[in-house]
Symmetry: C2
Subunit: 347 residues, 2 copies
Amino acid sequence: MRTTIKDIANYTGFSVTTISLVLNNKADKIPRSTKNKIMDAVEELNYHPNQLAVGLVKKRTQTIGLIISDVSNVFFSTLAKGVEDSCRSQGWNLILCNTNDKHDRDMSYIQVLANKGVDGILFCMARDSDKKKTEESIQLLKKLKIPFVMIDRYLEEADCSSVIVDHRQGGYAAAKYLLRHGHRNIGCVTGPSGLEDSMERLKGYKKALEEYEIPYRAEFIYEGNYDRESGAGAVDYFEDKEISAVFAFNDMSAYGVYNRLKKRGISVPEGMSLIGYDDIFFSEILDVPLTTVKQPIYEMGVESVRQLIEEVESDAGAKKCIVFQPALIVRESVGYGPAYERGGRPI
Amino acid sequence: MRTTIKDIANYTGFSVTTISLVLNNKADKIPRSTKNKIMDAVEELNYHPNQLAVGLVKKRTQTIGLIISDVSNVFFSTLAKGVEDSCRSQGWNLILCNTNDKHDRDMSYIQVLANKGVDGILFCMARDSDKKKTEESIQLLKKLKIPFVMIDRYLEEADCSSVIVDHRQGGYAAAKYLLRHGHRNIGCVTGPSGLEDSMERLKGYKKALEEYEIPYRAEFIYEGNYDRESGAGAVDYFEDKEISAVFAFNDMSAYGVYNRLKKRGISVPEGMSLIGYDDIFFSEILDVPLTTVKQPIYEMGVESVRQLIEEVESDAGAKKCIVFQPALIVRESVGYGPAYERGGRPI
DNA sequence: CTGTTAGCGCTTTCAC
DNA sequence: GTGAAAGCGCTAACAG
């Protein structure tokens, strides 16, 4: 049997109250000598409070839940790492929940976590969530009165904290970098048109064009699916479009672009400039290291925990939307375009 | 305030005992009518038992802890996915613990998990654990009487369950595949000589040579560090060794080999055959897709949970060492060697 | 068939 | 300064 607080009481001759008091640093009026005796006994009997009992009475467990779709996806595993590191450093624990992007698992995990008495939830909503499902999740969370912060998703209506990245800025930075290098006809390989992050990147791209007073041309946009095939398909599609650079909305499709170009004997960056998004680990080690846009995923994990704990500890607290800026990672896949040679307008 | 069992009792007019009985399916003698009333009330008041209270009295939490060094490492995130999936399907939960390979974090997490009342622990020991530290961890686990299964590490002495992969077999399979393709002079790029998995792969390699009655030549072995640089260094080292194939002990170093060969104008598999180990995701999408050895990591996660839960539920139960066999994934990086053309001895 | 009661291990109010 | 006692929400003997 584990040592309990009673054991310490018996062993030292004090009451459980006294033990509890000194263990919880509420022992203003208890003399050093008593404290010492108790601490010695704790050490000697190797006492560690049963956190189930503590949680039951304090209604705090120092535990949070992380709901994501799939830890084996590098985005989420990086996030989870940040979350876990942040938890540990503050003495908290983490319950991991994979939903495989199923909304009903979101729902059931929220309930399970509530039953386990987590103090808060970090919530990456399932991708299959439409407006109604989203609302349902949020509603449940609110009914259960569990503090939560949404990750990678911002909801105007839902009064809650979010940690997101500014994809528009990411798209803008990528496009502008290309423009500054003298590219004017820039093809895009987007993600599925339903996804907000893809749409935002596109908006950023448009904004950069506007700044350069270059008309937006729909035929330069190829709707992809964030996979290699999309990249390859885009190259075929762009064949007759006189494009000097491609902005792929993620590295996977950038890689597809790269391979298909190579197959056609077009080299990067000489024959075509290429920029990606995500900075997945092999982007750095390709033959032509990929210039790309990196999201501070780990930091988002860390920050979301900070925000969540703050809300937990202050009971509610101010809801915030924390926006992270992606960073342009310059490597070797972008060269100078025609406008640059003609005396472009580098800012 | 959350609905409690008392609320259900008041609402229905029955006692908490009766409620508890029907909720726990121990209500043999309770009439349908009563049951129905209770279930209706449960539904209506949206009652969910507080698992902290349940855990406190039952001494079971349906929760396990997973101690690994780093979720953001793809090996562990894949494992974690298997573990979590397996937990969910059985109604269990998972507390995730990252140690960054620090032994003292192993120790503190074990204690924390115990305090939280987990029913068992899946334990990937920190890499920095020497014999003494290893013993210390195991000792603690045993003192705490927490069922645990070791992952990726087998300890003869420690009477406990393990889930491991047969790296010797992996090394054997890779080497034999090369031999069957007519290669006789096969270079190896190993991992650090201290790591057991690397040593095991080497033993498998030797065993295959023996089977073919080919003398083992120490100069064909290049000690690497599981990184790209190791692969590049190996190519330089092998330059004057008349080797027709390289067995890299992981895909990262295989990739290093591949790149350096390319730089030297040697093509794979025409100029040199190459085989890797791990099957990391980009091995498949390289220009020359890499033939490699794949560990069933996800399945190991699933299986380790199965074993752990079995031990938890049977109180102790039989300790087992579950050995997984790696699989050879044949792609395009291995060609035929000199012995094959001279009429080799394919089995 | 159902209810009373005694905990599980802890915190906290209140009294001495 | 310290302790008795109530109670967190639940389960499980034991009665009846």
